[in-house]
Each structure stands twice: as C-alpha cells, then as structure tokens.
C-alpha cells in the first residue's frame, strides 16, 4: 500500500540551499543522468512510455508517446522546450518546484533531450517570477561548470546547450504553439495544427514541448525504474503529482501524492475548510476546468475520475471556496481574465469573451432578466470549440459549470438587485479585523 503522500520532487524542499548543485548531488542528484547516458536513447523513451507518465501541464498526454512522435529520420535539428509559463489561475506547483529544486528540472532536461536526440533545449519561464528565473539560471550555469551540460557530456559524445528564456506576460504562451511563437520572437498567437510541433515546431523543426513537472519526473523514472513509478497512482493515471490547495482551507499548500487521492483527503491534510465555514465550490485543475462542489469530494483526482465528474484534472490546482464566496463574482472575474488574455487571433474567442463579460457583469449587478442566463449559455455554445486553441473552451467552463450548480444564485442577484454577498466576509483577514 502506497503512503498517502509521496514526496519525490518536493522531497528536498525542506533542505537548506537545496537549489545548489552540491546539495542536489549530495542526495544522489545527476545519478540518473549518468545512468541515462549509458542507455540507448530509445530505451529511455521506452522506459518513460512504460512508466505511464502523462503530461503534468494539464492535458495529460502520455509523455513517452509524445517523444516517440519525433521523426528521427528528419534531418533537421530536434528541440526540447520546457513549458515553464505556469499561468493557469490557481496553478502554483512549477514555480515553487523551480525555486527549491531547479536541478531536478535541469537533469530532466538533459535526459529528455538525450532521449529525443536534441542538442539544444529551451526553458521558457514566465517573466513575472524573477527569483525563480534567477534560480534556474544559476542551476544551468552550475550544470555547465560541472560538465553536465555543454560539449561531450561526461565523455558520452553527447552535446547539449540549454537557454533559459524569460517570457513577458501573456497567459496564452502557456499554450504550446503560442509559446513557440513567443520563443521565435513573435506575438504569442497559437498555430493551426496539424502540423503538430513533433513534426514542425520550433523553427519548423521536430520539437517536444513538456511541462516542468513532467520533465522533472523523468530522472526518478530512470533512477528507480518505470515499475516503481507505475506502482503509484491509478490504473490509467500513474505516478505522483503535486496537488496545490489554495483558498479557504486552514493550511493552503503543496501536497505531493499519488494520482487518485481525493479532495476529502487533501482538505483533511490541509487542516479542513477554514474554521466555521463549509466548502461551496472548487476547481480541480485551474479556472479552465469546470467547477465542482461538495458532491464531488470523493472522486479520485486522476484523469479519468475528474473527467467522469464532468471536469478535468488539469494542473491539480485545487482552488477552494467556502460559502461566503459569490460564485457569480468568481465567474465574472475569471471571464474578465480570459477576455484580457485572448490573443485576438480567432473571432469567436476575441469577440465572444468580450460579450460574455458584458452579459455577466450586468447579471452580477442584478440588471437584466433570467433570459440573460440562456443568452449567456447560448454565447458559450458559440464560443467553445470554435477557435485554434483551448483558451475559449476554458473561458466558458466557469460560466457553464456555475450556472449548472448555482443557477439560483444568479437569479438571487436579479431579485436582490445586486450581489447578496459581503465581499469582506470571504477575505483572509475577515476575522482578524485588518480590513478596517
């Protein structure tokens, strides 16, 4: 029986100066790299496939399969790009991971690049996290100095260069083809697929794009074996993942657990819902995953379990809201976010998210009629699935799901002539008197 929590990537976060190379190596770090350099690249891909690792950036695509799509007979250079643009509202796992343990990412980058036969890799970090960028820059520099990067790594004949690239503020660049546009020095607008990046990605060359946590999981798979990894988790969602609890729980934080843990267990570990309050709604994996309620406390938090409940596991960004929170206000704020972050390329998203804000803002103010709810849902139907990327699908998720579970609350705004909630009651400092 696997333990409730299984720290692997987070296991050194309580170690002083864990971000430095000496600390990382003193705990066995870069041992997996030495092993990997003695393996055939294809057997690394096979091990990652066999482990069952699925993308930790939200979509859950099998990582090893993604790697195997790289056409090795293509004469162009191959590239690895790490998506460290963590921006999905509620998601806060990659940032502390890179701050505390940047070398596990760097080691993962080297092994993964070796597997797909890339000699150049990029770590695209959102620009708004200065100290994280410092730590990753420093880790890459240390890895060069130790001979883990550069020419003829540890006498293997394998060369790899890594560039740490800072973004400049654009949620959409978390979408992999928009990220590639940003990395090519262009406006971050998603590309039409196919061709997929595995065939024509960065500079129209074969490219693998993986989330930070996916790549950081690779060294442990190589070190301990794919069966070890697959011994955790559930049938189709193998391994461990970092679950991020935020909002109205007593002790918000990060919990690294096998996939399939439930929200009930996690809330319990976080000390319960804040005292005197009850769970109202939550996101399983960021704001783009439909809201769930207290009916869903016992679903296994794996790809299938959350999918079966009508939402998505996403990034395991569990934003917890208690009964003091107005769901209409929450949905409106997220909608304003999507409107702001729509890149403007596709009309249904660019215009549609603007209209969603118009209708939702009126409802939140208590202006309009119940028919506007139908109008809103009709707009959602005309936006979802009609754009190049999934931003618009994410934009409609909070609206559709909040109307599904809390229609009465929307109506209450109309009958009340405005929001019936006191926003001060839901703040962190509501009980401490700091809001005077």
């Amino acid at each position: 029986m696997t333990d409730t929590l299984t720290p692997v990537l987070t296991d050194n976060w309580d170690v002083e100066r864990a971000w430095t190379l000496p600390s990382y190596e003193s705990r066995g770090g870069y041992g997996a790299l030495k092993k990997a350099l003695g393996m055939a690249p294809d057997s690394i891909i096979e091990a990652v496939k066999e482990s069952g690792l699925r993308g930790r950036g939200g979509a859950g695509f099998p990582t090893g399969m993604k790697w195997s799509f790289i056409p090795q007979d293509n004469p162009k250079p191959k590239y690895l790009v790490v998506n460290a643009d963590e921006s999905e509202p509620g998601t806060c796992k990659d940032i502390p991971l890179m701050m505390a343990n940047p070398h596990v990412l760097v080691e993962g980058v080297i092994i993964s690049s070796f597997a797909i036969r890339a000699n150049k890799a990029f770590i695209y970090i959102r620009g708004e996290v200065l100290h994280v960028i410092r730590r990753v820059q420093a880790a890459v520099a240390e890895a060069y100095a130790a001979g883990h990067l550069g020419q003829d790594i540890h006498g293997s004949g394998y060369d790899l260069d890594v560039v740490v690239h800072a973004g400049a503020g654009a949620y959409i660049c978390g979408e992999e083809t928009a990220l590639l546009e940003g990395l090519e020095g262009r406006r971050g607008q998603p590309r039409l697929r196919p061709p997929f990046p595995a065939v024509a990605g960065l500079y129209a060359s074969p490219t693998v794009i993986n989330n930070v946590e996916s790549i950081a999981s690779v060294p442990s798979i190589i070190e301990h074996g794919h069966r070890w990894f697959a011994s955790m988790g559930t049938e189709k969602s193998k391994g461990f993942g970092i679950f991020s609890l935020s909002g109205h729980v007593a002790n918000p934080g990060q919990f690294e657990a096998p996939l399939g843990i439930t929200l009930r267990e996690l809330i319990d570990l976080a000390g319960g819902i804040r005292e005197g309050h009850q769970l109202k709604f939550w996101t399983p994996g960021g704001s783009s995953t439909p809201l769930l309620t207290d009916e869903h406390l016992d679903i296994p938090l794996d790809f299938e379990g959350v999918g079966g409940a009508g939402s998505m596991l996403g990034t395991r960004a569990l934003q917890i809201f208690d009964e003091t929170t107005c769901v209409v206000r929450a949905a409106l704020r997220w909608t304003e976010f999507y409107k702001h972050e729509s890149c403007g390329k596709c009309t249904p998203c660019r215009e549609g998210t603007w209209w969603l804000v118009q209708v939702l803002a009126k409802l939140e103010q208590g202006v309009g009629s119940e028919e506007d709810l139908e109008l809103l849902l009709d707009q959602c139907d005309n936006i979802a699935g009609r754009s190049f990327c999934a931003l618009a699908d994410g934009a409609v998720a909070p609206i559709q799901s909040s109307i599904k579970y809390f229609r009465d609350e929307y109506v209450a705004h109309l009958t009340n002539g405005g929001c019936p909630f006191d926003p001060a009651a839901s703040t962190l400092f509501a009980t401490s008197g700091a809001l005077v």
Partner: protein
C-alpha cells in the same frame, strides 16, 4: 531628427542586445529578452530601443512594435523604481486582493498602471502569478510578497517610497525595476542564493509526510525488475540495486 541622450541606445547596450540574439539558433528568438534589456536601459520601451532591436534582427520596427505591444510586461510609459503588482484574479481577489488594490489606489492616489508623482511606485493589478497558496499575493518588481493585507500593503509601499530596505518574503532585498529587467534579459545579478528554499505554504504537505514517515516506495529489485519487463529498460533498472 534629434534624440535625447538618455534614450539613445548606448554602445554597451547595443552590444548586449547582439549578445542576446546570438544565444539562439535564429536571432529573432532573442526579441523578448532584448525588449527586457531595452526596459532595463531606458525604463520603458522606447522608439530608439525598438529601432535597435529591428536593426540587429533585420526586421522592421513595426514588427518589433507589434511584439512589444502584445506582452503586458512591456511598458510604453515610464515605470517607477518599484512596480507593485496586486493579484486580482479570482482567488486572490476573493481572499482580499480587491480590498488591497482598492486601498493602494487611494493610498497612492493613482489608478491602474499609473505611477506616483515622485516616480517611485507604479501600481498595477496583475493576473494569477502562481502563488495561490500564499493568497492574497502581491509582487514588487516581480518578487513575491506573500499573504498580504491592506495594512501590510500600505506599509510596503510607504517603505518603498522612503527607501527603507524591503525584502521579498521568498527572495532577496528588492532591486529596482530596471535592475530586475536586466535579469529577465538573461544577465544574472548574483542574487540567486538569497532567500529560502521554499516558503511555509510550499512545505505544508512535506511536513505532514515527515511527521507520518510517509515516503515514495523504495525502488526494491522486485518492483523495478519484475518479470515481463522490457529487456532494454529492466536492464537499466537493475543497475540501481
């Protein structure tokens, strides 16, 4: 056409812009960090900075402008010494971000994306900055300021304006916005070793695991080399133990 001296791209900056472009297989990939360097040198995106980028990359100034206007971290108006961000995405807003932002607008007498008259503080409401377990979250020059309240926020901006030492809750002493932009351009400032490994919220789960002696399974030989493992991978796994 004359250029103000403080806005012309000096030789050192021009050379550094070229260095950034040279990091990449195709120089244009350097454009985002190059624009960060322009902000570091000029305090904003200047027409002269745009021209220099265009010149180095062999693309039009309109192309560079198109990129500079797409990303929210690039500013066309001068930014203060301290860019103060308040997260008002849903979770932080609900947890108090809205109250903090409103208090700061009053306290500083500025609107969103505006700078105080003394040129010290630019206030902006920001989107989710990936620190939700520390909500409500603020940033100063993109360093984390965790678990904020309206009171702490007003004290913070007062300290910044008076020149008192301010430290990130998970990082070093706050540098100026222009110094921060230089790091984003890929020129490290040597401060990576400041601050803790992780903040308290990041360690909640790990602490519980330690208390209960919860661990990931051992990679016992039975687990990694069980019958039926593909030969190539089981062979590598056997090396371990």
């Amino acid at each position: 056409m004359t250029q103000a001296n403080d806005r012309a791209v000096d030789d050192k900056t021009y050379a550094e812009l070229q260095q950034i472009a040279a990091r990449y297989p195709e120089p244009r990939s350097g454009l985002l960090p190059m624009l960060h360097l322009v902000q570091s040198a000029h305090g904003r995106i200047t027409p002269e900075g745009i021209e220099a980028c265009a010149d180095i990359l062999g693309i039009s100034a309109a192309d560079v402008s198109g990129v500079a206007t797409f990303y929210t971290m690039y500013k066309r108006r001068p930014v203060g010494d301290y860019h103060v961000g308040v997260c008002t995405n849903t979770l932080c807003a609900v947890m108090g971000g809205d109250a903090i932002f409103s208090r700061l607008k009053d306290h500083l007498d500025v609107g969103n994306d505006e700078t105080t008259a003394d040129g010290k503080v630019t206030l902006e409401h920001i989107e989710c900055n990936a620190a939700c377990d520390y909500a409500p979250v603020m940033t100063v020059n993109w360093e984390f300021m965790d678990n904020m309240t309206p009171e702490k926020a007003t004290r913070l901006v007062d300290d910044l304006r008076s020149g008192a030492e301010v430290r990130s809750t998970r990082g070093p002493r706050i540098v100026t916005w222009r110094q921060a932009e230089r790091v984003l351009a890929g020129f490290p400032d040597g401060l990576a070793d400041e601050g803790p490994t992780a903040g308290p919220a990041s360690l909640v789960g790990l602490g519980i695991a330690r208390e209960n002696d919860w661990k990931a399974p051992d990679s016992s030989p039975g687990l990694v080399t069980g019958a039926g493992a593909p030969s190539s991978t089981s062979e590598s796994a056997e090396e371990k133990q």
